[in-house]
Protein backbone atom coordinates (compact mmCIF):
# COMPACT_ATOMS: atom_id res chain seq x y z
CA UNK A 1 0.00 0.00 0.00
CA UNK A 2 2.78 2.40 0.90
CA UNK A 3 4.50 1.88 -2.45
CA UNK A 4 1.25 2.56 -4.31
CA UNK A 5 0.71 5.83 -2.48
CA UNK A 6 4.32 6.78 -3.03
CA UNK A 7 3.89 6.17 -6.74
CA UNK A 8 0.87 8.50 -6.91
CA UNK A 9 1.80 11.38 -4.61
CA UNK A 10 -0.75 13.73 -6.18
CA UNK A 11 -3.71 11.35 -6.23
CA UNK A 12 -6.67 12.64 -4.23
CA UNK A 13 -6.99 9.70 -1.89
CA UNK A 14 -7.73 9.00 1.73
CA UNK A 15 -6.68 5.66 3.16
CA UNK A 16 -8.27 4.26 6.30
CA UNK A 17 -5.99 1.56 7.60
CA UNK A 18 -7.92 -0.65 9.99
CA UNK A 19 -5.76 -3.01 12.03
CA UNK A 20 -7.60 -5.94 13.57
CA UNK A 21 -6.50 -8.97 15.59
CA UNK A 22 -6.57 -11.98 13.30
CA UNK A 23 -3.48 -14.03 14.05
CA UNK A 24 -2.61 -15.46 17.46
CA UNK A 25 0.23 -12.95 17.72
CA UNK A 26 -2.11 -9.97 17.36
CA UNK A 27 -2.59 -9.41 21.08
CA UNK A 28 -1.94 -5.66 21.07
CA UNK A 29 -2.54 -2.63 18.85
CA UNK A 30 -0.19 -2.13 15.90
CA UNK A 31 3.32 -1.20 16.92
CA UNK A 32 5.11 1.93 15.82
CA UNK A 33 7.02 -0.31 13.41
CA UNK A 34 3.80 -1.65 11.83
CA UNK A 35 2.19 1.78 11.59
CA UNK A 36 5.27 3.20 9.91
CA UNK A 37 4.85 0.65 7.12
CA UNK A 38 2.24 3.11 5.81
CA UNK A 39 3.84 6.51 6.40
CA UNK A 40 1.82 8.49 3.83
CA UNK A 41 0.11 11.60 5.18
CA UNK A 42 -3.11 10.62 3.39
CA UNK A 43 -3.51 7.60 5.66
CA UNK A 44 -5.42 7.38 8.93
CA UNK A 45 -4.86 4.40 11.19
CA UNK A 46 -7.31 2.61 13.46
CA UNK A 47 -7.20 -0.30 15.89
CA UNK A 48 -10.38 -2.34 15.73
CA UNK A 49 -10.20 -5.15 18.33
CA UNK A 50 -13.89 -6.04 17.93
CA UNK A 51 -13.83 -6.23 14.10
CA UNK A 52 -16.57 -3.64 13.83
CA UNK A 53 -15.40 -2.35 10.46
CA UNK A 54 -14.99 -5.84 9.01
CA UNK A 55 -18.48 -6.76 10.20
CA UNK A 56 -19.95 -3.57 8.76
CA UNK A 57 -18.23 -4.16 5.42
CA UNK A 58 -19.52 -7.74 5.37
CA UNK A 59 -23.06 -6.76 6.31
CA UNK A 60 -23.31 -4.02 3.70
CA UNK A 61 -22.01 -6.03 0.72
CA UNK A 62 -24.46 -5.86 -2.15
CA UNK A 63 -24.68 -5.65 -5.92
CA UNK A 64 -23.29 -4.10 -8.02
CA UNK A 65 -20.30 -4.30 -5.70
CA UNK A 66 -17.92 -7.01 -6.90
CA UNK A 67 -17.73 -10.09 -4.70
CA UNK A 68 -14.45 -10.76 -2.93
CA UNK A 69 -12.49 -13.86 -3.87
CA UNK A 70 -10.69 -14.34 -0.59
CA UNK A 71 -10.02 -12.63 2.67
CA UNK A 72 -12.04 -14.51 5.23
CA UNK A 73 -10.67 -16.03 8.43
CA UNK A 74 -13.16 -17.54 10.88
CA UNK A 75 -15.88 -15.44 9.32
CA UNK A 76 -13.98 -12.15 9.64
CA UNK A 77 -12.82 -10.19 6.61
CA UNK A 78 -9.15 -9.27 6.59
CA UNK A 79 -6.26 -8.53 4.22
CA UNK A 80 -8.79 -6.84 2.01
CA UNK A 81 -9.15 -3.43 0.41
CA UNK A 82 -12.42 -1.68 -0.34
CA UNK A 83 -12.24 1.30 -2.70
CA UNK A 84 -14.97 3.93 -2.86
CA UNK A 85 -15.24 6.58 -5.56
CA UNK A 86 -15.40 10.30 -5.04
CA UNK A 87 -18.82 11.42 -3.87
CA UNK A 88 -19.80 8.11 -2.25
CA UNK A 89 -21.44 8.66 1.13
CA UNK A 90 -21.57 6.36 4.15
CA UNK A 91 -25.04 6.80 5.63
CA UNK A 92 -26.70 4.02 7.60
CA UNK A 93 -25.03 1.59 5.18
CA UNK A 94 -21.60 1.62 3.58
CA UNK A 95 -21.72 2.76 -0.06
CA UNK A 96 -21.07 0.32 -2.88
CA UNK A 97 -17.35 -0.21 -3.42
CA UNK A 98 -15.83 -0.26 -6.89
CA UNK A 99 -13.12 -2.64 -5.68
CA UNK A 100 -13.61 -5.12 -2.85
CA UNK A 101 -10.95 -7.76 -2.83
CA UNK A 102 -7.59 -8.95 -1.61
CA UNK A 103 -5.09 -10.00 -0.57
CA UNK A 104 -3.97 -6.42 -0.80
CA UNK A 105 -0.69 -7.35 -2.44
CA UNK A 106 -2.57 -9.15 -5.25
CA UNK A 107 -4.90 -6.30 -6.21
CA UNK A 108 -2.23 -3.68 -6.64
CA UNK A 109 -3.06 -2.92 -10.28
CA UNK A 110 -6.78 -2.56 -9.51
CA UNK A 111 -6.00 -0.15 -6.67
CA UNK A 112 -3.80 1.89 -8.99
CA UNK A 113 -6.55 1.99 -11.62
CA UNK A 114 -9.00 3.26 -9.01
CA UNK A 115 -6.63 6.01 -7.94
CA UNK A 116 -6.09 7.21 -11.48
CA UNK A 117 -9.66 6.91 -12.77
CA UNK A 118 -11.08 10.27 -13.79
CA UNK A 119 -14.12 11.54 -11.86
CA UNK A 120 -16.17 11.55 -15.09
CA UNK A 121 -15.36 7.90 -15.79
CA UNK A 122 -16.34 6.96 -12.25
CA UNK A 123 -19.61 8.90 -12.51
CA UNK A 124 -20.39 7.18 -15.83
CA UNK A 125 -19.69 3.78 -14.32
CA UNK A 126 -21.92 4.49 -11.35
CA UNK A 127 -24.68 5.56 -13.76
CA UNK A 128 -24.40 2.47 -15.95
CA UNK A 129 -24.19 0.15 -12.94
CA UNK A 130 -27.80 1.03 -12.19
CA UNK A 131 -28.97 -0.89 -15.25
CA UNK A 132 -29.08 -4.68 -15.63
CA UNK A 133 -26.37 -6.25 -17.78
CA UNK A 134 -27.09 -6.54 -21.50
CA UNK A 135 -27.94 -10.19 -22.38
CA UNK A 136 -25.67 -11.99 -24.80
CA UNK A 137 -27.20 -12.73 -28.19
Amino acid sequence: MASILKRYPDAAARVFVVWEPILSTDWSPPSTFAMHLIPDGRARQYWDPDHMVAKQLAADRRAPQPEEECCDRSGILWDLVAVYPRGATWNDRMPVAVLFNGPVVDVRSEIESSLTASPKAVAFRRYTDRFPPVPEW
Binding site: A34, R42, L80, T89
Partner: protein, 68 residues
Protein backbone atom coordinates in the same frame (compact mmCIF):
# COMPACT_ATOMS: atom_id res chain seq x y z
CA UNK B 1 40.89 -6.29 31.39
CA UNK B 2 40.32 -7.01 27.72
CA UNK B 3 37.58 -9.48 28.64
CA UNK B 4 35.87 -6.87 30.81
CA UNK B 5 35.88 -4.32 27.96
CA UNK B 6 34.30 -6.78 25.55
CA UNK B 7 31.57 -7.49 28.08
CA UNK B 8 30.85 -3.77 28.35
CA UNK B 9 30.61 -3.50 24.57
CA UNK B 10 28.28 -6.49 24.43
CA UNK B 11 26.14 -5.03 27.21
CA UNK B 12 25.93 -1.69 25.39
CA UNK B 13 24.87 -3.39 22.16
CA UNK B 14 22.21 -5.43 23.97
CA UNK B 15 20.89 -2.32 25.73
CA UNK B 16 20.78 -0.35 22.48
CA UNK B 17 18.93 -3.18 20.77
CA UNK B 18 16.47 -3.38 23.66
CA UNK B 19 15.79 0.36 23.52
CA UNK B 20 15.33 0.20 19.74
CA UNK B 21 12.95 -2.77 20.06
CA UNK B 22 10.98 -0.99 22.76
CA UNK B 23 10.66 2.11 20.56
CA UNK B 24 9.57 0.16 17.50
CA UNK B 25 7.47 -2.64 18.98
CA UNK B 26 6.44 -1.44 22.43
CA UNK B 27 4.88 1.86 21.38
CA UNK B 28 2.04 2.80 19.05
CA UNK B 29 3.05 6.08 17.46
CA UNK B 30 1.64 7.15 14.12
CA UNK B 31 3.99 8.36 11.39
CA UNK B 32 4.63 12.08 11.13
CA UNK B 33 1.78 13.83 9.31
CA UNK B 34 -0.87 11.40 10.50
CA UNK B 35 -3.15 11.78 13.53
CA UNK B 36 -2.71 9.39 16.44
CA UNK B 37 -3.98 5.83 16.24
CA UNK B 38 -7.72 5.69 16.95
CA UNK B 39 -9.05 2.82 19.08
CA UNK B 40 -12.42 1.88 17.64
CA UNK B 41 -15.31 0.90 19.84
CA UNK B 42 -19.06 1.28 19.65
CA UNK B 43 -18.75 4.94 20.55
CA UNK B 44 -15.94 5.85 18.22
CA UNK B 45 -16.92 4.07 15.01
CA UNK B 46 -18.54 7.32 13.97
CA UNK B 47 -15.11 8.97 13.84
CA UNK B 48 -14.28 6.67 10.95
CA UNK B 49 -17.57 7.42 9.24
CA UNK B 50 -17.06 11.16 9.73
CA UNK B 51 -13.58 10.95 8.28
CA UNK B 52 -14.86 8.90 5.38
CA UNK B 53 -17.67 11.32 4.53
CA UNK B 54 -15.41 14.30 5.08
CA UNK B 55 -13.14 13.24 2.23
CA UNK B 56 -15.78 13.13 -0.50
CA UNK B 57 -13.47 14.79 -3.02
CA UNK B 58 -11.07 11.87 -2.73
CA UNK B 59 -11.08 8.22 -3.60
CA UNK B 60 -11.44 6.42 -0.26
CA UNK B 61 -9.76 3.14 0.56
CA UNK B 62 -10.50 1.02 3.60
CA UNK B 63 -7.76 -1.51 4.19
CA UNK B 64 -8.15 -4.36 6.69
CA UNK B 65 -4.83 -5.62 8.01
CA UNK B 66 -3.39 -7.69 10.81
CA UNK B 67 -0.68 -6.04 12.95
CA UNK B 68 1.69 -8.98 12.75
Amino acid sequence: MRVKRSWFVLLAVVLAAAVLCEQQFGTHEAPRGQPALVHLDAGSLDTLRTGFNGAQDSVRLIVLLSPT
